[in-house]
Amino acid sequence: MYDLAEKALKAATKYGAKEAEVYIMKSQKTSVNIQKDMIEGAKENITTGIGIRAIIDGAVGFSSTNIMSYIDEAAKNAVSSAKTQDADPDWKELPSNQKYPTVSGILDKEIQNMELDECIGYTMEMMEAARKTPGIIVTSGSFSRSHGERLILNTNGVEVSEEGTGISGFVDVITNAGETSTAYDFAISRKNDLDFAAIGKNAAELAKQSQDTISIEPHRTEVVIHPFAFSDLIENTFIPSIDADNVQKGRSNLIGRKDEIIANEKLSIYDDGLLEGGIDTGIADDEGVASRKTTVIEDGVFRSYLYDTYTAGKDGVESTGNAARNSYLSTPSVGSRNFIIDFPSCDIIADTDIGVYVNTVIGAHTANAISGDFSVEARNSFTIKDGKLDKPIKSLMISGNIFDMLKNINGAGTDVRKVGGTITPSIRVSDMSVVG
């Protein structure tokens, strides 16, 4: 890998790049799929690719390929793309070689070396646990394990090489007797520490509990939002507004609002690239800037946007280590790392006299990412009465605005979940509009 990267850097420089960067990704993933109570098959995906950024006076050209004999041509294309553009005075430079922190809990040899038998075993565990609840069909599900390596090299001396593992389980179930209801559950980790039986059991029990629904009248009430639903909302409404790129382009509600109180004073939010065993943990971000922990909201006060090297250079600040890439096919852009929601916890349902509990939402991606307004369909929701979940609700829309919500948060559960990169407990928000 290293030799290929060096070759690509040299080629880009030869064709005229002032600065150049090479990102190589290699991954191997095994997954096992469930379809209607049966294991349908297994997949193995091997991916290797290279992305080259060539920079001339701040103009960035990019080219990528998975054909290693095309590297020279890709480097040439990246350079000619850069030449087609005007100079960008806002560009400072690519990150330089720096001291990297150590991180832990992201590589597990058990996952790296996991055989197909074991993968099938975990898949069966999920499915069988779900089927222990009578009247449940597992409509679909999947298990996956992966091992990946990435290498980042640039002409400023950055050399980042890191490997990691991941494991996940997901099931979607439906009831086949009585009222039709569905539910899902999933979990993801970097270590081989998932309780696969719990995933199946949780989904099945939730679908069962969601039967015999009642309708409710439109009103405003306290809503307790499960980590699945809360992370979905926060990722689609709040995270875009702290992305420095959106802020600089006038697409954020938080422009010029640093050090302003924007949330309940007990709420803090951190973006942490160093979290032990975090889904988005690594020694560096995807352009080779050392990972760190950034305080986004401190006791209700808005403290920081998230920056990659380019946006940081534009604002004259340091990068927060938030350059992210989906794959070798694209240039880095600002993205959150492990996003941690922190609020004093309590037994949140028992603490709620009357309200609504929402497990998941559909349609969060339709929210207005700038204004923060959303209107989503809540799934597997229940009324709360006298500190207990009472009746499942047939159909429910919840709507509001994320910035109003942050101010109206008045409680959190003890049930902290890693929902991908977002780590959050159940969150209670006062005075939300619910339409039954």
Binding site: G363, N368, I370
Partner: protein, 443 residues
């Protein structure tokens, strides 16, 4: 040599170029070349699948997929999967590319994008962006029964978005056009005018009022009605979802499930963004009627689901080197005979919902939720107040039965559809629809 019942290979090779313009400045130019293979093997009732990038060895990939299938079949044996036999596809009536985008210089593409992108920057618009993309791919298919086929496809398109802001309020407008065409897409559509339209929508929404939710009669514009056809009806018609018990349309073939005014079609042969001459398991494509005059006629099938449920394959697609699954192509509600003005008159009081910001559907329970871009209150048969952040939700079968009028103004919209983590190009469309009762959500 391979101890499996069936295997197939799909090799895809090609290039993609995209150019991103942000606030008038080129933000990124990206050129990708990729090649890869996707291989499936079937043993008994178990599938093995492998994908490989770049300079792969197909024989090795077939062996790896076969080993997975054999091993799965030993460890969790189950009912044998049968694949519908098919003939090799005949590739004909392919879209004619008038201006091959690969023949046009990067400089020209950049200056064109800058030129039309400018038109979104109107007074009151705080930021704009525009994207141009093109792709040119060759797809080669073979299977162990002797089926073979190959085709080339060129896709181009552009999107423009504009954000208007005033006193801490932000509203966005977006226009996009994608198709199976060459660079002549800019002759077909006036990108500058569309950029102005995106800006106008954003500006207009600054003065819109939040919606008051509730049950009411509604008119859906062709774009939102198209999203309904795709999300609510199209997905529920996918035979893999029907087989796994996740569709409200299970066991309803031949039954009346919608107002007799409703006919819904999925047609991969149409020269729209969702076009393909044969699907990703070698099946020839043809126009498929899902609902005809209210009666459910057919599901969408792969070779596996067609063999199991009876039906015609041709709707199994994959993103790149992923494993193909049952998908839509160009999905639309067919024209009726009503005029928009007649709908307004008929409805009296209600809401007119326009455009779409996406949506989701739970096909198992048969419920959906879509956010419209905007809406108008309808009072005494007249469009009055402009409404923002408005959504439509409900039960698929109730809405289908509540369709009271179908317009004669079918319009298609291009986009990408996600399922199983894979995105594929599609279009959806419809004429205006009048629905006697639907749940409208608001802020």
């Amino acid at each position: 040599m391979h101890s499996v019942d069936f295997f197939d290979t799909r090799i895809i090779e090609g290039t993609t170029t995209s150019i991103v313009l942000d606030n008038g400045k080129i933000e990124q130019i990206s050129v990708n070349f990729t090649k890869g293979a996707a291989v499936r093997a079937l043993k008994g009732g178990s599938w093995g699948f492998t994908s490989a990038d770049g300079d792969f060895d197909v024989e090795k990939a077939i062996r790896a997929a076969s080993e997975l299938a054999v091993s799965m079949d030993e460890k969790s044996p189950k009912e044998k999967v049968k694949m519908q036999d098919i003939a090799s596809p005949v590739v004909s009536n392919t879209p004619k590319i008038k201006k091959n985008p690969l023949d046009i210089s990067l400089e020209e593409k950049v200056s064109n994008l800058k030129e039309f992108g400018k038109h979104a920057k109107k007074e009151g618009i705080s930021s704009t962006s525009a994207v141009y993309s093109e792709s040119s791919y060759k797809v080669m298919y073979t299977d162990s029964t002797g089926v073979e086929g190959e085709y080339d496809v060129v896709r181009t398109g552009f999107a423009i978005s504009a954000v208007a802001s005033r006193n801490g309020m932000y509203q966005a407008g977006r226009e996009s056009r994608f198709g199976v065409t060459g660079y002549e897409i800019f002759d077909k559509y006036n990108a500058s005018e569309l950029a102005e339209e995106a800006a106008n929508s954003a500006l207009q929404l600054l003065d819109a009022k939040p919606a008051k939710g509730g049950n009411m009669p509604v008119i859906l514009d062709p774009e939102l009605a198209g999203v309904f056809a795709h999300e609510a009806v199209g997905h529920a018609s996918e035979a893999d979802l029907v087989l796994e018990g996740s569709s409200v349309l299970e066991n309803r073939i031949g039954k009346s499930i919608a107002s007799p005014l409703v006919t819904i079609i999925d047609d991969p042969t149409m020269h729209e963004y969702g076009y393909f001459p044969f699907d990703d398991e070698g099946s020839q494509t043809e126009k498929t009627t899902l609902i005809e005059n209210g009666v459910l006629k057919s599901y969408l099938h792969s070779r596996e689901t067609a063999a199991k449920l009876g039906g015609t394959p041709g709707h199994c697609r994959a993103q790149g080197h992923s494993k193909p699954i049952v998908r839509m192509s160009n999905t639309y509600i067919d024209n009726g005979s009503s005029k928009f003005e007649e709908m307004l008159e008929e409805i009296g009081n209600g809401m007119y919902l326009i455009g779409s910001r996406g949506g989701q559907v739970n096909t198992g329970e048969g419920v959906f939720q879509f956010n419209a871009e905007k809406g108008y209150l309808i009072e005494d048969g007249k469009l009055t107040t402009l409404i923002r952040d408005v959504s439509l939700s409900g039960k698929i079968l109730e809405i289908l039965n509540n369709v009271k009028m179908v317009g004669d103004d079918l319009k298609m919209n291009s986009g990408r559809c996600g399922k199983g983590g894979q995105l594929v190009p599609v279009t959806d469309g419809s004429p205006h629809l009048m629905i006697s009762e639907a749940m409208v959500g608001g802020a």
